[in-house]
Amino acid sequence: MGKIKRIRTISQSLSLILINLGFLGIFLKHLTVPAFNCYACPWATISCPIGLLQNFVMNGQVPTYVLGTMGAVFVFVGSAFCGWVCPFGFFQDAIDFVKNIFKRKDKKPRKKSQAKNNSKDFSLISRLIVLVATLVLAIRYVDTIFCKLCPIGTIEATFPYQIANGFSYNIWLGARIGILIFLIIMFFLISRFWCRYLCPIGALAGPSNKISLLKLYHNGDNCNGCNICKDVCPLDIDVVKDLNSTRCTRCADCVDKCPKGHLAFGLDIFGLVAISPFKKKKPKVVEKKLVTPSTEGIPGAETPKDSEAIPPEEEVDVLDEFKYREKGTLVERPAYMGFKKGERVYLPYEEVKKIGVRPPKTSLSVLLKQYSEGRLAEDYDTPEAFVEEKIEEKLKDVPKSIPKEEVDRKHFEKFRIPKRTELHLEHLKYLQELDVPMDVKAIANNSNEVPAVLLAIVDASDKINFEYINARDKRAEWYYQDNLPSVYINGKYYNGSFSEDELIYKIKTERYIIENVSLIIDYTKCIGCNAQSCKKSCDIFKKIPILDEGYGVYPLSNIGCSLCGKCIIECDRGGVSFIFGEKLVTDPNFSIEMIKKNNELISTIYPETVLLFLEKNKKHSNRALNFTIALSYLSHGKLSYQIVDVAKNQEAVLKRKIGAIPCFWVSDNVQIAGMVSEASILAFIRKISKWKG
């Protein structure tokens, strides 16, 4: 059930109660609304417009009050009361709901007879006939004939009356129960049968759709006729062709189900001012097109290598060092990063001195000398340690409205001890030239515990996005905490030592993954997807347009993805996958359902690093990669992996004596090679997990 449909059901239930507040002793029978609710119901609060119409006409009066009330509603919202208020409409919707439950069990595809669609629409005429017949009979026999047969009266008035006063039979009773049974059968065959062909209120409400202020709008730019709107419409209206149909009950099911949001309600004030919901959205469509890949998905087609697919990012703030380098004060490294009131500053030595920020211990000449000699690493003295209690006290002052992440970030920036390590010049160069985004998270008991070398690496590059998470925080629960501080690089637990070389190596391997792996979206699986769990779980997916057919190929470095693997788990339809290499190699039988089912087992494994030996552009390599990504996410990042391209690293393969590709390699004893299936990969997980079952 979609969001709008849920709101509509709530609205219908609420109005059913509001219209029948008689059990509280509230009766407002002066009022009437264009909704079917028998006023003879013992609890009915308001009057039935058709009943009143007949009574007025019967007495020979012009029913200006009833017609005026109905007209006033109709000119504003058209027939919206039919879909959102009317209790009899609610009854029919309930029958539809029951019908759908049985249909789902049968799993029969809903077939629509062409004859029905092609036949001339006589629904409005039949409704008008009912209305005119009602009034003519009332005048002719001076009696409310319609009320004697009315089906909602049978439900709301006859049954309570019969229960309260004992069963008594008369000819009208038989007729009206017969009509109700007939209608219920028809409701099972044709949804909203009453609203479609018989409702006398609908005879007035239907035409008002054409002139009312509330109108349905369709943005036809990208619509390519999936006809989902037509399929979901309970009244079988061809929505796109006939937006303001006389049959429409304004139930908004089509708006709810349109996969692209091309239908919406707007205001049309006498045709003079049209407030269409789509006018504002148009520039967004243009923006989206930039992200669209230039080749739209023929399987096997080569992915575009050009970076045109992604709009060029804004000029990133160049590190201040670079500016100074231009001026001639050579600073190849952020050695002059100082701290001024907790904020990092990048300044040349002389200026640092002026401000009075603690300058580096060694002067530039000494550093240059060290550089020429080949030893550049140098630690600052650690200042006096912070007392954790003070920090806690200060944290309490932070207003509660600020989100927890922000508090953590501020805390970290504020109390981070400027304990610094100089990195090797080669590494600094590498980090400054780093062009793929990295996501580094450190989980620690306090900011002191975060390794200094990690901070130095983080500071050296703009592309590295660092986040400190306090271990006592709720957000830290997801992460592995047995061995604090834990460091997560791109959502994968870092299982090595905190040495400069190893961390840089890890970043290099992550960079290799991001530069060589692409995200694949199978758009055929997106059609009619209501959940849109990809967009809910990941911000990157919000930028990506969802098309109707073909495949979308997005190199990770272009879209700024750090390959955490959440999307592959969240997508229920198997529309998201990843490929290693340039070619779009699709895998129709790919499924990770079994892996998802075993997520509890997978989450218990110990941290482990897997070497993935893969070939580019191969189906089984891609499958192995996808399994690993899924496992890595389900294991809370504890299973971290590193991709080795077999073609380029012959030595690595020979050294480990690997027989078949793809291969998961943990150690000589723990490895699986060759074609992979979900079963084999789960067996592999059992080998490295706590679970021995």
Partner: protein, 168 residues
């Protein structure tokens, strides 16, 4: 379409305001403005009009009813709630009249919606025809703390005679 919608807009409000103001075009059978008339129509439901009760019934009392009626030796007052445009109210009135003819202990009064509407509210009568009963002290007959009403004309004789027996 522009003109049509503007005309519809104006017409709807002209009708609504004229209805509320009480512009009655044609004969007036109920009192008041149209929204007050709507209140009367909606509040006091003529049961036969909406087919909840039979429209034809025999006025003559059955032997069983007459036998039971003869045993009544205490005064019972009956109120019959009626309205002008209720087709079955005369039938109900006629049957109750027959009761009074058979046994002089029983007396009845007709309460008309058009003239004595306040009694409808006092005894919470919203269906027509309705019959309620009083004993000699003028205390209304109650059943489970609610005013005991005989509603509609289906099996009216049986239900009325039962109620009369309960008054004692």
């Amino acid at each position: 379409m522009k003109i049509v919608s503007i005309i519809a807009f104006i017409m709807a409000f002209v009708l609504l305001i004229s209805g509320i103001y009480g512009l009655n075009i044609g004969p007036v059978s109920l009192e008041g403005r149209q929204y007050q008339q709507a209140n009367q129509i909606g509040s006091y439901i003529c049961l036969s009009c909406i087919g909840l009760t039979g429209s034809t019934v025999s006025h003559t009392l059955t032997d069983d009813t007459i036998n039971r009626l003869k045993k009544i030796d205490y005064p019972v007052k009956i109120w019959v709630f009626t309205s002008n445009d209720c087709p079955t109210c005369p039938d109900a009135k006629a049957i109750i009249l027959n009761f009074t003819v058979e046994n002089p202990n029983i007396s009845f009064e007709e309460i008309k919606l058009e003239t004595q509407g306040q009694f409808f509210d006092t005894y919470a009568v919203s269906e027509l025809p309705s019959v309620i009963f009083f004993n000699k002290d003028g205390i209304v007959l109650r059943k489970d703390n609610f005013v005991h009403k005989v509603v509609g004309i289906d099996k009216l004789q049986e239900r009325v005679i039962e109620a009369i027996e309960m008054v004692s």
